[in-house]
C-alpha cells in the first residue's frame, strides 16, 4: 500500500452558488510526484489552496502528514506551512526584493542561520535551478521562465517535505518546459520531496508523475499510475488526454450557473 502524505476525504467546497468540489476523495503518496490534472476551471488551484489551508472546506477533511489542516490553530498551521513549499502560477516573487533576497526570505524568516550560512544555501539553491548568476537581479528583470525557476528555488529553500506546483508549465516555451520537468524530477529523486503538480499539460505531467488524478466537474474521474490513466476507457478521461473538442466534457459554459469566476483566475 502507498505511504500516504496527504489525504483528501469527501471534500466539498463551493464559491457562492457554484460548487467547485463535490465529494472529492484522493490521496497523495509520500515521496512521489503526483499530478492533478483536469480542464481549466475545475478548481485545481483551489485544491492547492485548500491543502495549504488558505481556504476552508464546506465539509470533508484534508490531512497533511496526519494533521487535519482545517482544525489547526494559527501557529500550528504556520508550522505546517513551513514544511510546504509552493510554486505559484505567476511565480509570485516579491517585487521589492532582489532574486537573492527572495530566496533568502524563508530562511531569514524561519531559521536562525547566520548570514554566511544563508548566503551559502541561497547560492546553492539558485545553482540547482541554474540561476546562480542572476542572484542580484530584480524580479522585473527576469523572463517568465527564469522567474519560475527562481520561485522554485525559493520554494525549496527550507528543504520542505512537500512542494506544490501550480501550473508550472503554463505559458512556457518548450525549452523552459523541459528545464522545469528536469528540475522537478531531479528534486524529487535527490531529496525525496513529495510533489504535487497541478496542470493541464498532459504530456509533461504524465511523463514525470508517479501518480495521477484527473478531475472534472468537481469530482475525481480517474486516479492511478500514468500507465493506468493512459489505458483508461473512461470517455471523459480519453477526451481530456487526447484533446478532443467533442465529448462528455461540455465545451459550452453551463448557462444555469451564475458566471461567478471562481476556482481559477
Amino acid at each position: 500500500m502507498l505511504d500516504v502524505y496527504i489525504k483528501v476525504q469527501n471534500l466539498r467546497f463551493s464559491r457562492g452558488d457554484r460548487v467547485i468540489f463535490d465529494d472529492v476523495t484522493l490521496v497523495i503518496p509520500r515521496g512521489k510526484i503526483t499530478a492533478v490534472m483536469g480542464p481549466s476551471g475545475t478548481g485545481k488551484t483551489t485544491l492547492l489552496r485548500l491543502i495549504g489551508a488558505q481556504l476552508s472546506p464546506d465539509s470533508g477533511t484534508i490531512t497533511v502528514d496526519g494533521q487535519n489542516v482545517d482544525e489547526l490553530s494559527r501557529s500550528a498551521l504556520y508550522k505546517v506551512r513551513e514544511k510546504i513549499g509552493m510554486l505559484f502560477q505567476s511565480g509570485a516573487l516579491f517585487s521589492d526584493m532582489s532574486v537573492f533576497e527572495n530566496v533568502a526570505f524563508p530562511l531569514e524568516e524561519h531559521t536562525k542561520f547566520s548570514a554566511a550560512k544563508i548566503k551559502e544555501i541561497v547560492l546553492e539553491k539558485l545553482h540547482s535551478v541554474g540561476l546562480r548568476g542572476a542572484a542580484y537581479l530584480k524580479p522585473s528583470e527576469l523572463s517568465g521562465g527564469m522567474a519560475r525557476r527562481v520561485a522554485l528555488a525559493r520554494a525549496i529553500a527550507l528543504d520542505p517535505e512537500l512542494v506544490m506546483f501550480d501550473e508550472p508549465f503554463a505559458g512556457q516555451d518548450p525549452i523552459s518546459k523541459g528545464v522545469l520537468v528536469e528540475l522537478i524530477r531531479k528534486l524529487n529523486a535527490s531529496a525525496g520531496i513529495t510533489s504535487v503538480l497541478v496542470s493541464h499539460d498532459v504530456e509533461e505531467s504524465l511523463s514525470i508523475a508517479d501518480h495521477v488524478c484527473i478531475m472534472a466537474g468537481g469530482r475525481v474521474i480517474a486516479e492511478g499510475s500514468p500507465e493506468e490513466i493512459r489505458a483508461s476507457q473512461n470517455a471523459q478521461v480519453k477526451q481530456f488526454l487526447h484533446g478532443e473538442p467533442d465529448g462528455p466534457v461540455p465545451f459550452n459554459y453551463p448557462e444555469d450557473t451564475m458566471s461567478d469566476h471562481g476556482g481559477k483566475r
Binding site: G52, K79, R81, F88, G91, L93, P106
Partner: protein, 260 residues
Amino acid sequence: MKSLIALGAWFFDWLEAIGRAGIFIAQSIFRVPVRFGESVNLLVRQLYSVGVLSFVIIVVSGTFIGMVLSLQGYSVLAKFGSEDSVGQLLALSLLRELGPVVTALLFAGRAGSSLTAEIGLMKATEQLSSYEMMGVDPLRRVIAPRFIAGVICLPLLSMVFSAAGIIGGLLVSVGWLGVSDGSFWSLMQQSVNFDTDILNGLIKALVFAVAITWIAVYQGYECVPTSEGIGKATTRTVVLGSLAVLALDFVLTAAMFGDF
C-alpha cells in the same frame, strides 16, 4: 416593505464591511512583528516611499498656497487698512485648515493611491498568498509597515506644508507687497496659539493620516485582483480618502474651534 428590507440588508452589509476593515487593521498592528530589526527595516523602506517621495510635492504646493493666500489676503485686508495682519491670516488659515487638509488630500492622491495599487498588485501576482504559504503573516509583513509609515508621515508633511506656506507668504507679502516684516511676525505671533492652533492642526493631520492610510491599505488588500479591480480600488482610495478627510475636518473643526 421590500425596500425597507433591502435597506436593512444594505445597512447590515455596511456594518459588516466596517467590522471587517476594523478587524483587519487591528490584526495588522497588534500581531506583534517577530523580529525587531526586520520590522524597522521594512518601516524605513515605507517611510521612504510614502514620506520622502511625497516631500517635494508638499513643499512646492505649500509654498504656492502660501503665496496665493498672501496675495488674496493682502488685497482684501488693504481695503481695511490692516494689511499688516496678512501674516496672521496666513498662519491661522495654514495651521488650522489648509495645512492638514490640503496635505491630506495631496497625500491621498500621491501616497494613498500608490499604496492601494502596490498592495493590489501584490495580491494579483499572488505575492500575498505566497507570504501566507511561507508561514509569514502578510498583514504584519506588508500591511503594518505601510500603515504605520502613513500615520507617521502625514503629520510631518503637514508641518512641512504649513512652514513652506508661511515662508511662501513671507516672500510675497514682505518681499513683494511691502508689508513690514516686524509687524508680519509680531501680529502672527500674537494671534497664533501653540495649543489651539499648532497642536490642533497636528491632531487633525494625525486623524486624517489614520483614515487615509487605513482606506488605502484596506482597499488594496480587499481589491479584486485583476487590472480592472486594482484600478477601481485605487480610484476608491482617492475618492473615499478625500471625502473622509473633508467630513472628518468638519467634525474636528466643530469640536476644536466650535465653542465660541
